[in-house]
């Protein structure tokens, strides 16, 4: 277990491709940090720089007390779980788990003890004599985890480890990974582009965009107070609605007068567009229902605001009160508004 510190990390690939443009991040001992961002934002690159699989162009990387910039992956005391698992196909599960320990010169009985222990934790004991191809995707995933576990490293690195699993298994493994990390208290860095994994897994969430950090915080902090339009629309599903302030002010609502003067856009989460009028002071907006989508526990109403082309989504439980094509009136309380400035892309308060 160790603290992981990234200071001004930069990665420039040949041809002046800047994949990572200066990342500062301090991961506390035992903390579980999730990196999330759109495809191509540099998540994998950053993780691989920490692993030592990609050289660091600039900046400093510290694991524990050691500066590890120039160390080989094996010397950094990290373990990594790959997206496609990268198990050795010709070795049994046992040998897959044992290989890293053998290379480090562990005694045979110590290897045996650790492999059995990890296999027990992951419930893959019965698969130890099998080859990877004789396992299902989920079982392979566990073996990949086991290979990281037996090493008892300072830091776990995960690169979208669940993305090849089906939805149900993904939920199950997500819970297990979280429990395992709680139990082992190993510092972990986890890359994903899955909303739910991002929100549920980590102690802290790092939202990356274009090789830079957009926002760092606990998942709830980020959900409740997105620092930029990018984060606001990236975290949460369906995405947050963005409505020009001018449009709302036109509707003659004094409620918006206390917004900072540079606010020209407000974000409203789909759940905060209420069909029932709340007791608190609120805005009333008229719209046309374009599409109703029932998704089981919740429904999505795709509307177009009256007198504008602005599309929005409302999330509600239950049925739509009106038919498609008819007028729908919804309500928003003041607290639900996230004020942004569209030029800077930042939150204004």
């Amino acid at each position: 277990m160790a603290r992981l510190k990234l200071e001004g990390l930069k990665k420039t690939y040949a041809g002046d491709v800047q994949a990572v443009k200066g990342i500062d991040l301090d991961v506390a001992d035992g903390e579980f940090v999730v990196l999330v961002g759109p495809s191509g934002c540099g998540k994998s690159t950053l993780l691989r720089m920490v692993a030592g699989l990609e050289s660091i162009t600039e900046g400093e990387l510290t694991i524990g007390e050691r500066k590890v910039n120039d160390l080989e992956p094996a010397q950094r005391d990290i373990a990594m779980v790959f997206q496609n698992y990268a198990l050795y196909p010709h070795m049994t599960v046992y040998d897959n788990l044992a290989y890293g320990l053998k290379n480090r010169g562990f005694k045979r009985d110590e290897i045996e003890r650790r492999v059995r222990e990890a296999a027990r934790m992951l419930e893959i004991e019965e698969f130890l004599p099998r080859k990877p191809r004789q396992l299902s995707g989920g079982q392979r995933q566990r073996v990949a985890m086991g290979r990281a576990l037996v090493r008892e490293p300072e830091v776990f690195l995960f690169d979208e480890p669940l993305s090849n699993l089906d939805a149900k298994l993904r939920v199950q493994m997500r819970v297990e990974i979280k429990q395992l990390q709680r139990r082992l208290k190993t510092t972990s860095l986890y890359v994903t582009h899955d909303q739910l994994e991002a929100m549920t897994l980590g102690d802290r969430l790092v939202v990356l965009n274009g090789g830079r950090i957009e926002q760092v915080g606990t998942p709830m902090e980020i959900y409740a107070r997105p620092a930029s339009i990018f984060v606001a629309t990236f975290i949460g599903s369906p995405a947050m609605n963005l409505i020009p302030v001018a449009y709302l002010k036109e509707r003659g609502n004094g409620l918006l007068d206390d917004l900072p003067p540079d606010t020209d856009l407000v974000g409203i989460r789909p759940d905060d567009l209420r069909i029932q009028p709340p007791d608190a002071p609120h805005l009333v907006v008229e719209s046309t229902l374009e599409l109703f989508e029932a998704a089981g526990a919740e429904s999505h109403l795709y509307v177009r605001l009256a007198g504008s082309d602005q599309p929005s989504v409302i999330r509600t439980a239950g049925q739509s009160p009106v038919a498609e094509g008819e007028t729908l009136r919804f309500h928003v309380v003041r607290e639900a508004l996230h004020p942004f400035n569209s030029a800077s892309g930042k939150r204004t308060v």
Binding site: R48, N84, L87
Partner: protein, 281 residues
């Protein structure tokens, strides 16, 4: 097969059997011929039923050979061929595995240039470069030696190229996982890449072995000492005496010469089948 039409089945089988018969008939004739006595061939017809001299013929060839053709006993020549073929095969495999490994996994200056250089040598088989190669071998004093027989044939662009293509299909994450697991380049090569290539190695082993075994021109050129004659060139020298060739004995040598490649194929077949089922299951 999806369809099960009896007539179609019978027809396909007939064609297959004809094909096999066409291929096997000469082999059969050779085997039968090797069992005849000295007089049989003089009658001008090809005997189609085995004669009773098999043991005599084979023993004679194995132990003393044809004294008239200056060739040593077939046993000795088979042994020479075996050493040459194995040296060529193992040498080719080792060198091509290592060079493919270097080309795929190491970044060194002019990597692509070297790759193309190797690739271009595909166009230069022994027969094309035989005169200069002979000069080099002669100047190095390797005439009449196993080194001279095998070393000039060892470089293999084909195998290097095939291994390169194979290595490029091994996912990069395999290398990365091995690096995280503390395996250096050679450990990775030995523990991961070699076992993964085993099917390819077995297939190439067969091809290379037969290539080495069937070398004719090169051994003919560089061996003058009968101690280094190989079986394939030996057989040729036995038939040099036109009109007087003891075909029954030559055929015995031919049958013996054909056996080692067959054995190699049979042994390696196990390996491919194992390799194939292992990767597919």
């Amino acid at each position: 097969m999806v369809e099960h039409r009896p007539l179609g089945n019978a027809l396909t089988h007939l064609i297959l059997i004809l094909g096999v018969a066409l291929v096997l008939f000469p082999v059969y004739v050779a085997i039968v011929a090797s069992t005849q006595g000295p007089g049989e061939f003089l009658r001008g017809t090809l005997p189609l039923l085995p004669g009773g001299h098999a043991l005599d013929n084979y023993r004679l060839m194995w132990e003393s050979g044809l004294s008239r053709s200056s060739a040593p006993p077939a046993g000795q020549m088979l042994w020479n061929s075996l050493i040459m073929a194995l040296a060529i095969t193992i040498g080719k495999l080792t060198i091509s595995l290592l060079s493919a490994f270097a080309i795929v996994y190491f970044r060194f200056p002019f990597r692509l240039f070297f790759f193309w250089l190797i690739f271009i040598t595909l166009m230069l088989p022994v027969e094309v470069r035989i005169i200069p190669t002979f000069r080099v071998v002669a100047d190095l004093g390797m005439l009449n030696s196993f080194a001279g027989l095998s070393i000039p044939l060892i470089a293999s662009a084909t195998a290097t190229f095939l291994f390169r293509q194979f290595f490029m299909t091994v996912p990069e994450e395999m290398l990365e996982a091995a690096r995280v697991d503390g395996a250096g380049p050679f450990k990775f090569f030995k523990d991961i890449l070699l076992p993964l290539s085993i099917t390819n190695i077995a297939a190439l082993f067969v091809i290379m072995f037969i290539y080495g075994w069937n070398q004719y021109l090169w051994p003919l050129l560089i061996t003058t000492d009968p101690d280094y004659y190989t079986i394939v060139m030996g057989i040729q020298s036995m038939t040099a005496d036109e009109g007087n060739t003891p075909w029954h004995l030559v055929m015995a040598a031919v049958v013996m010469a054909a056996l080692p490649p067959v054995l190699v194929i049979l042994c390696m077949q196990r390996l491919f089948v194992k390799g194939l089922t292992e990767t597919e299951k």
